[in-house]
């Protein structure tokens, strides 16, 4: 069953030096109970894509065109009041709790309860009861609901963030770098917890990260973004072992793989492009070692590799030849 479908989304930012095409013609789909990893370098538009779904963009940004269908209903043109009902109730988010996503002067329990009171119309007492249940669900001690954020460790804050995201039984959870800034052990715990809850509660999850290596075990599908566009998308297996786009290939090899021989990870030459004046043709061509003439002239279309696996490259899988 299809939970979310994004069709040709374009989100632009109007700043003093021009228009930043942060998300430029992005399409993706997600089923109930499915988990999608959205990866790419910083500034490639993955967070903007996520924030576009519930219209949380900063004031300079706006959705220029495209559709976002949540359970078949387009939510792009919802009024201010209507979108507020979608937020958290239907689509909730997990921010980097370890950083500053929790209000430092408000008790954690109250921060979760306020969302329950708003959307579920419960009394404060009932809401707090629900928070205690949520704390148990994310394996935190219920009595700590009256603590303040600074009394929690990074991992605990992240668990509290997850409890908060689950508060109103949303259909879709978006995790924006939910494990960044946590140590590896805690990272694994958090990801396992998310995975378990997703299956139990049949929710869709979009995980945003710049770290491909953590997605393998927690995601069904991966979409790789580069310079505001999705360059390749498919099931984890396809992306890891049968990828077709040179950027995916480069991104994967830029992470050390402990299962293989010890080699220095490959860095991707050059810097991410300027999104005010993006390169012509394929946006990756200035940094692509396999680029030919056509790459700078013609924008590649999405090609089907196999069931559910698409890529946008004139020479898909070129690096496997020879």
């Amino acid at each position: 069953m299809e939970l979310l479908r994004i069709n040709n989304l374009k989100t632009y930012f109007n700043i003093s030096s021009g228009t930043v095409k942060a998300v430029d013609d992005v399409s993706l789909t997600l089923d109930y109970g499915e988990s999608l990893g959205l990866v790419g370098e910083s500034g490639c538009g993955k967070t903007t894509t996520a924030l576009s779904i519930t219209q949380l963009l900063p004031s300079e940004g706006s959705i220029v065109s495209g559709e976002i269908l949540l359970e078949g209903k387009n939510i792009v043109n919802l009024s201010d009041t209507e979108i507020k009902k979608v937020r958290w109730k239907e689509v909730s988010m997990i921010f980097q709790g370890a950083m500053n996503a929790l209000n430092p002067v408000m008790r954690i329990g109250d921060q979760i309860a306020e969302a329950i009171i708003l959307h579920e119309k419960l009394s404060y007492k009932d809401a707090i009861k629900r928070v205690e249940e949520l704390f148990q669900l994310v394996e935190l001690e219920p009595k700590r609901i009256s603590n303040y954020p600074h009394e929690f460790s990074g991992g605990m804050k992240q668990r509290a963030m997850i409890a908060m995201a689950l508060a109103c039984n949303p259909k879709l959870i978006i995790g924006d770098e939910p494990t960044t800034a946590l140590d590896v052990m805690v990272q694994a715990q958090i990801l396992n917890l998310l995975d378990k809850l997703r299956k139990e509660l049949n929710m869709g999850i979009i995980l945003i990260t710049h770290d491909l290596s953590i997605l393998g075990e927690t995601c069904d599908k991966i979409a790789v973004m580069y310079a505001g566009k999705i360059v390749e998308t498919g099931y984890v297996e396809d992306i890891y072992n049968n990828n077709k786009h040179p950027y995916t290939y480069k991104l994967l090899s830029s992470f050390p793989n402990i299962h293989k021989e010890r080699v220095m990870p490959d860095a991707i030459e050059g810097i991410p492009p300027d999104l005010i004046n993006p390169p012509s043709g394929c946006r990756f061509h200035p940094r692509c070692p396999y680029a030919k003439d056509i790459c700078g002239k013609e924008e590649p279309r999405m090609e089907l590799a196999n069931e559910g696996h698409y890529y946008a490259c004139h020479f898909g899988g070129v690096y496997n030849e020879k």
Binding site: R87, N100, N103, P104, V105, E114, Y148
Partner: protein, 322 residues
């Protein structure tokens, strides 16, 4: 843990107060021009005052004995005799304290409420006309000498429009048959001084509130609150303002010094019979015992205000522990 913090702050304040007393002592005894010598030579000082001063300062004894005599007198509340008023300094100060408390208290309440509201609106509507107007108002009132603002207000409201009396606390020579008419007269005298002092303070508070709030608005927890589906009003009230209020408490305390500066000017201009006016009189009559007494009282009140602010802060900010 809070108790320890409070105790530490109380001790620190006591040490500072001790410093102030020492400073005060040396300021009036050792500085070039030696005020003490001037007291002895002052033609306005009566024989009684000179005798009293000699005794008070313990003249002829070693300097450390003199200091202890000074300390002892201070603890008994003996600040010497005022030259001008020919009464004990402490009595003179006591008789002038209420008008100042009433005027400054009203001005503080008014300017804190208006200033904070203005700052909040300014920050929330950043870059709009309202913000520009509020910002210009704040910067201009910050740059206006308080006494000059008072003169302008007198010439417009008292002399031009004849709405309010120019000076004093009650209309001289008028007999009041009931409390209401007396309060009315009092209020009409109070209006312009309070307005002058408030105008100067509002800008300062508004500016700080605006800047702190702009800082807070960029914090991650603001995005979290928005993602939870709350409207702007709620977010500002429940999440942004409580965080921005913390620095404001400190500012209000630090501002005590500034307010006293403003009070001296306002009371001088409007002949408001409070401590500020008294200081002006002591200054122009070179009434050193009185000047010293007022200075000591003002300084100690400022230190105590800061102490109260520190303690309040520690109770409002859960992060303050020890």
């Amino acid at each position: 843990m809070k108790k320890q913090y409070v105790l530490k702050k109380v001790l620190q304040s006591l040490v500072t107060i001790f410093f102030v007393i020492v400073f005060n002592y040396f300021l009036f005894r050792i500085m070039p021009g030696n005020p003490l010598a001037m007291i002895m030579r002052n033609p306005r000082a009566s024989a009684e005052a000179i005798e009293r001063t000699k005794e008070l300062f313990g003249l002829g004894r070693p300097w450390y004995m003199q200091f202890f005599i000074y300390l002892g007198n201070l603890l008994e509340g003996d600040l010497g005799l005022s030259f001008i008023h020919k009464r004990p300094v402490i009595e003179v100060i006591w008789s002038r304290i209420m008008p100042t408390i009433i005027m400054v208290g009203l001005a503080q309440i008014l300017s804190i409420v208006v200033g904070i509201l203005m700052g909040v609106i300014s920050a929330w509507k950043r870059g709009t006309k309202i913000d520009v107007i509020a910002l210009s108002f704040s910067l201009v009132t910050y740059s206006v000498p308080t006494f000059w603002l008072g003169i302008i207000l007198i010439s417009v409201f008292s002399i031009g429009l004849r709405l309010f009396p120019t000076s004093g606390m009650l209309t001289p020579g008028r007999t009041f048959y009931d409390t209401v008419s007396m309060l009315k007269d009092y209020a009409s005298h109070l209006f312009l001084p309070v307005l002058t002092l408030s105008l100067v303070l509002i800008g300062e508070y508004a500016l700080t509130m605006r800047n702190t709030l702009l800082d807070v608005l960029t914090e991650d927890y603001m995005t979290t609150a928005k993602a939870k589906g709350f409207d702007d009003n709620y977010i500002i009230k429940k999440h942004a303002v409580p965080n921005a209020m913390l620095p404001m408490i400190t500012l209000i305390a630090i501002n005590m010094g500034l307010i006293i500066g403003g009070t001296i000017q306002v009371e001088t201009i409007f002949s408001w019979p409070g401590l500020g006016r008294l200081m002006y009189e002591a200054l122009n009559g070179r009434d050193y015992p009185l000047l010293q007494g007022i200075f000591l009282l003002i300084t100690i009140s400022v230190i105590l205000a800061n102490l109260i602010a520190d303690i309040t802060y520690s109770y409002l900010d859960p992060r303050v522990k020890s």
